[in-house]
Symmetry: C2
Subunit: 457 residues, 2 copies
Amino acid sequence: MFNTLYLPELRELLAQNNSAEMKEFSVALHPARAAEFMEGLTPAETWMVLQHADLARRVEVFSYIEQDKQIEIVRTQDRREIAKVFAEMPADDRVDLLNEIDDKIVSEILPLVPAEERRDILRLRAYPEGTTGALMTTEFAKLRESLTVAEAFAELGCQAEQLETIYYLYITDDHQDDRLRGLVSARQLVSAIGKPNTRLSELMERDLVVVNVWADQEEMAETVAKFDLLAIPVIDDDQRMLGIITHDDVIDVMREEATEDAHRIAGVNPLKESYLDTHLLRLTWKRGLWVTVLFFAALLTAFLLDHYEQYRQWWPWLVLFIPLVISSGGNSGNQSATLVITALSIGDIHLRDWLRVVWRELAIGLLMGSFLSFIGFIAAFLLIKDNAVVSAAVLALTLLLVVVCGTILGASLPLLFKRIGLDPALMSNPFVAGIIDILGIVIYMSVACTLLPPQGS
Amino acid sequence: MFNTLYLPELRELLAQNNSAEMKEFSVALHPARAAEFMEGLTPAETWMVLQHADLARRVEVFSYIEQDKQIEIVRTQDRREIAKVFAEMPADDRVDLLNEIDDKIVSEILPLVPAEERRDILRLRAYPEGTTGALMTTEFAKLRESLTVAEAFAELGCQAEQLETIYYLYITDDHQDDRLRGLVSARQLVSAIGKPNTRLSELMERDLVVVNVWADQEEMAETVAKFDLLAIPVIDDDQRMLGIITHDDVIDVMREEATEDAHRIAGVNPLKESYLDTHLLRLTWKRGLWVTVLFFAALLTAFLLDHYEQYRQWWPWLVLFIPLVISSGGNSGNQSATLVITALSIGDIHLRDWLRVVWRELAIGLLMGSFLSFIGFIAAFLLIKDNAVVSAAVLALTLLLVVVCGTILGASLPLLFKRIGLDPALMSNPFVAGIIDILGIVIYMSVACTLLPPQGS
């Protein structure tokens, strides 16, 4: 539901071209809230309202507008005005946006952006999506280590206007401007305000946590979460500082990765765009691929069942419980797989814990399996007319074995995937279900062959 | 794999009781890194190493130690020393830790904590887990609105020592100390350093994003992510400011919620503790509950199949494809459910999009279903001896219908759950699979009844 409170008023202001009130609207509210109130406007209307705010505010509100609308505005509105916005946007956000826009339009806008900003955009665009470099911003507070506290405040006063954030001040070598030596937090600097002649080199922390510009974004996010950082400096292979990643990008990465994991667990290749924006045929392909692989696995069950034809003729009741057997195994297996995948991804368990995990799953499989066996035994006893006790025992034993197999397989596969260097979430759930389908039928028929006499009574 | 680089050296230092070097160890490294290097030590050894650091550093390193070890240290080490650590720990972290410890031990430690800190602990412990209040810290930079920039720096110089962070300065009413009026970022204050006589009331942002102390932590995290905040002020029903939530807690909440969703999707009641720490019987209960519910659903298929007994006797090949039919429907349904649940949770789709979602799923169901139909037709044609064309057509039509039902059901159930106010992730996958099991068999048998003659040829 979008917020429609201001919508009629905004439309009226637009119709009257009431500049003062439109300016007031964009100044009084938090930029994110102003963007929210404009959700009901068309891209062109939104852009018209924004024209009445000064450039700094316009850029702030613009950055909170939904991406679809941003793209539409960039595509359709005056290139010269758009270039002004790009010149002022945070370095990381504008690159994200430009990556969504047709190259032809980008090539029309870029020449209108001031040279320094343009070079920055081109540099950041060189890092492929998924790397730390593609997320970083080149705007951060940089101070030389020989500065005193008083000089640092003066220098910061000049830098702060252009920066997104200054919670960490990065301290560089006096001779080589881009070699990172240490870090002073805004808190530390403010605490030292009573000692204006202290040098930054005396205040700074020297043991820094950094990330390489080519590192995978997931690895970067893990590091930030582990060390509880607000921002992390990004360095190249020669230890030169190139930029920082800020906390908001880390939150986005963590969300993205959690969603990708959830998709993989359900056997969907992770989507690049949002669900509604992904082309129907691409979405079908990303899903159909695994559905088809699993289809062939399930097709094996038909051949298996064909193999046990005679037994099915002797004991027709066996057929009744096929869905029950395979779905009991599948459900308990999926639970185990999901628990192990999520525990691995948040670091609750490690590969070295594998034996403990398998033991736990064995115990849980035995407990749940015994209980389901018991219910299964009663149900089969009531439903099957002849040789009821032995028949019910066949079902009960099958259920116990299948549930135990399900929990152990479900827990082991993600661990195995991780061990051989694959993503543990790699469609483990359908994979587990597919194996359990086949295994369930083999177990069911083998138990029946063992316990039941070869001919119907 | 824990880091064993320093382990032998650390053990040796402990044996020699080499105080200078142990102090150096805890000062030179980033606290998180020092904690990591001590992973191989026992809780008692870790505590002994920490004794050689000064209190501030000891508390910092302690806060990065794994929780299990923290708990063990608190339980076993000298209460007086532990109380000193609690007095210095960030307000939110110490409450989290105390909540994990037996009440008896807590009641021994608390009287040893200074009165002011103790009151703070008791106040924060009053908020139930899952609320914003349980996560907040009471340590934040608070300034009166009549202060000038110069006065603010002086005041902050005093406050900063005790604070976790000062990226946002909260500006309060001159008369009522705890009524929040506005906010000045550290960046804004530093930019204004050249205008020392400016009042904070002129600098501050007045349109603030706040969260109620009783709000659900998930709601709070959503707000912080949406507005890209570093911290969010927490207020009570009378608009008084009680504390702040910092970005690191937001990252933790987002992880926790993603994991809970993943568990629900797989039909596991979310765990309170980590996988390995959850008692085996509790884990069995959290999983067994849904497995049993689903078991009864699957049991229905046995009665259904029993109902179609005659058909199964006329056309014995029907049985062969039962697992194939139900798992094709289940897999495509689970994909749809997971895609819709994750898209809902990250805000990519909203309830108002339901018609678009259902149309998309219908189209994808038809595409994937047709393809699987085609493969199914060929497989059945090769496997079935008599009346092969009609029989293969039965399977093909069934597969198409089941896959379409699966995708539409999988997409609709989470939307429906959300509409009636339930969590869309509420075990939707096993739920979908359970319904598809039953529906799949009804569709299969109905198609067979319609297309095949009532007696085997």
